[in-house]
């Protein structure tokens, strides 16, 4: 179910609190969003684990037990005492779902507004798009433009 509020709040608050690592619930969507953040350079590594801590073995032994105990741990990045990620927010909300085709995603990538309320992406800002394609389900906005795919714009990060 597409809802990016939880992961956006967890990551943004963890960066602002200067934490070394942050744990998010283990779901396909969270894994995909964190992978895109990893590719963009906001976090330095991802590890599967449990509530207790990052540990792939503990993650495996958890199988068959409660799924709610499993987590993905991300190592956060700081440079010169400043967090690399300062803002992360959801774009598509349950009260107002935002679906964009390729032209609209291209607009926000090139400094213009789209879908009335979605502000353009600033320098260094990324957006995560959930498409209907089987091979490329979750894409960064510019990758979606390059592949010609549109979809629901979940969240933005800078």
């Amino acid at each position: 179910m597409p809802r990016a509020h939880d992961i956006s709040a967890r990551i943004q608050n963890a960066f602002r609190a200067r934490l070394a690592q942050v744990a998010v619930p283990h779901t396909t969507q969270n894994l995909a969003i964190l992978s895109i953040l990893l590719q963009s350079g906001f976090v330095s590594s991802l590890t599967r684990g449990t509530v207790a801590g990052p540990s792939p073995t503990a993650f495996d032994t958890c199988m068959g037990k409660l799924e709610s105990k499993r987590r993905i741990w991300a190592d956060l990045k700081y440079r010169d005492d400043r967090p690399v990620l300062t803002n992360m927010a959801a774009i598509s909300k349950p009260s107002n779902r935002i679906y964009m085709d390729v032209d609209e995603i291209k607009r926000i990538c090139t400094g213009r507004r789209a879908a009335w309320i979605v502000r353009p992406l600033q320098m260094g800002e990324i957006a995560v798009v959930r498409t209907r394609s089987k091979e490329n389900r979750f894409l960064e906005a510019r990758e979606a433009v390059r592949l010609g795919l549109g979809g629901e714009v979940l969240c933005r990060a800078r």
Binding site: G41, D80, R82, M123, G124, E125
Partner: protein, 271 residues
């Protein structure tokens, strides 16, 4: 030269009226060792001396070569020579706000002048300074010296505009600035116009929401234009508290972002 130093503004500020000296003079024993407060003052004085621009053939400060404003803006080597004279004379200075303020004391009203000056070199350095004095010209000079001490670097895209949209708030003053293409010009509030002109920003559009108080607009712009390099919220690192002007992260350019993420940023221009 002696008459100027004795009777001009510099003298009123307590400037020393001895002539600038050189090592040769020290070797000749014509100056005592304790004249300079710090080695930096001595080095700056020597640099100005060695530049040869302001001395005449008799190894004295040339009265006619030194403009009046320059001597009056550098009252004494130890106190106000934050920059060499040949740099100071090239800076833009805009005394944007000049107010007559009054302190009501037991003996009655004590009026004085408050001046806020923005200084910049038009190539990325800009600073703001405030000065107060009972006389307006001296307040202007004091604020310019404070602005010179406050100079800091502004990272610009193509040396002409901002990297991204800026939305900042200082008290009730909200300033919104946007980068614009080449040749667009500075279409903004007059205070923002002068700050950008001093900083070397040539193309922006801006809007001020809420209070349009000039002092707050200028301080809001300067807080966010200069990205800074010190860790935030740590003061000056040697005991002083953090100031309001140090809040936030400011504007940082592409190279900074690429370094902190360890990735190249893609070029998104339409082709």
């Amino acid at each position: 030269m002696d008459a100027l130093r004795r009777s001009g503004t510099a003298a009123e500020w307590g400037a020393d009226d001895t002539q600038a000296t050189s090592r040769s003079r020290r070797r000749r024993g014509q100056v005592d060792e304790g004249q300079y407060e710090t080695p930096l003052d001595e080095a700056l004085d020597l640099q100005a001396w060695n530049s040869g621009d302001l001395v005449n053939d008799f190894e004295q400060w040339d009265q006619h070569a030194t403009p009046l404003e320059e001597t009056s803006s550098l009252p004494s080597p130890a106190e106000a020579q934050t920059l060499p004279p040949n740099v100071v004379s090239t800076l833009m200075r805009f005394p944007l706000i000049s107010k007559r303020v009054v302190q009501q004391g037991g003996k009655g009203r004590m009026p004085s002048w408050y001046v806020l000056t923005v200084a910049g070199n038009g190539q990325g350095l800009v600073g703001v300074g405030e000065g107060k004095d009972t006389e307006n010209p001296r307040a202007i000079e004091k604020s310019f010296i404070a602005a010179c001490k406050d100079l800091d670097w502004v990272d610009r895209f193509e040396d002409r505009t901002l990297w991204n949209e800026i939305d900042t708030k200082w008290g009730s003053t909200r300033v919104l600035m946007r980068p614009r293409p080449m040749g667009f010009g500075l279409r903004c509030n007059p205070f923002i116009h002068q700050v950008c002109k001093a900083a070397g920003i040539k193309d922006i559009s801006a809007k001020v929401y809420g209070s349009r108080n000039g002092m707050n607009i200028i301080k809001a712009c300067l807080r966010v234009l200069r990205g800074g390099h010190a860790p935030p919220m740590m003061g000056d690192g040697v005991g002083r508290k953090g100031t309001r002007m140090d809040k936030g992260y400011g504007m940082r350019g592409r190279e900074n972002i690429e370094r902190e993420r360890g990735r190249w940023l893609a070029d998104n221009r339409l082709r």
